[in-house]
Symmetry: C2
């Protein structure tokens, strides 16, 4: 951020009075511009024990496999975001169950949340951001070609919980290795 | 948003090519400025069956009671945000347990997440944003003076789960009445 989005004057970065962190501050109109983490919301769509993955048609991680997910938008709920992203990226209609995982990724200022979901039919097809969409048994998951660590962790928890017979809620942090 | 935070030129609001929602777009430098929901992270600090609440010293809802919570910052995890807000607003040191509630509040573009937490000592004291901090038994909770619906819902789930003997994870939407 270089300019004030309210008045167009240049901004400075400093700790405002009463605050403890540096912010982008406008000395012309007085606005303080806070920057906060973004939510990425997705689903783990299941069809009789198989999970639906999308192969990415965009960077980052072009060609790698992911769960349908994307940035939550203003004016929607987290559940609506999960349904929308699943439809946009996989052309798939699902019924959502409970939230399943929440992963903080502080080095990119994101929190990823994935819902369990039941695929309603087999009419899925790749959206504009996917090269292909396919169902995988656990043994067929392309573990070495998973796009993001939050997706890999979520998939591992899902198969472990299925084995244990109880699906929980998994909160974890993903930090640089 | 009226001006581009990258180059200072006026922005227009329209749907960019390949997108489906209106965004603030800069025709001078080409930047697209996305606006997304913010995460509010808090804790439900317990001391032997009593819960710690803070009475707000700031607007909105000056004078009303709330759980310690606030906007998650860049470069931190959700758990770190819960610990930081609990220390800032209630001067309280806690040990976090699992996330307990996640409430979407789409009309203000927020998602609130509260963690269960165990108060480590009784050395709490109001921070700059609190008038007072106190422990409440269920019968003493000031239900008519709770600042936010997400806090009221979280408290009700907490006491209901304690009665049932099992603490779960509660995801809900809070929409205008």
């Amino acid at each position: 951020m270089k300019f004030c989005s309210n008045c167009g004057a240049p901004v400075a970065r400093r700790v405002p009075p009463g605050d403890s962190l540096p912010r982008f501050v406008c000395d012309h109109c007085g606005d303080i511009h806070y920057q906060n983490p973004k939510l990425v919301i997705g689903a783990v769509p299941e069809w009789h024990g198989q999970l639906l993955l999308c192969r990415r048609a965009i960077e980052p991680r072009y060609g790698y496999w992911t769960l349908p997910a994307g940035f939550m938008e203003n004016d929607e709920t987290a559940g609506q975001a999960a349904l929308r992203e699943t439809l946009e990226e996989a052309g798939a209609r699902v019924e959502l169950a409970a939230p399943f995982s929440m992963l903080s990724v502080p080095h990119v200022n994101q929190v990823h949340v994935f819902y369990r979901a039941r695929l309603l039919d087999l009419e899925f097809r790749p959206g504009a951001e996917s090269l292909e969409v396919a169902l995988f048994e656990e043994a067929g998951i392309p573990w070495k070609e998973i796009a993001f660590r939050t997706v890999g962790l979520t998939l591992r928890h899902w198969f472990a919980d299925r084995r244990s017979g109880v699906f929980g809620f998994h909160a974890e942090d993903v930090v640089p290795r």
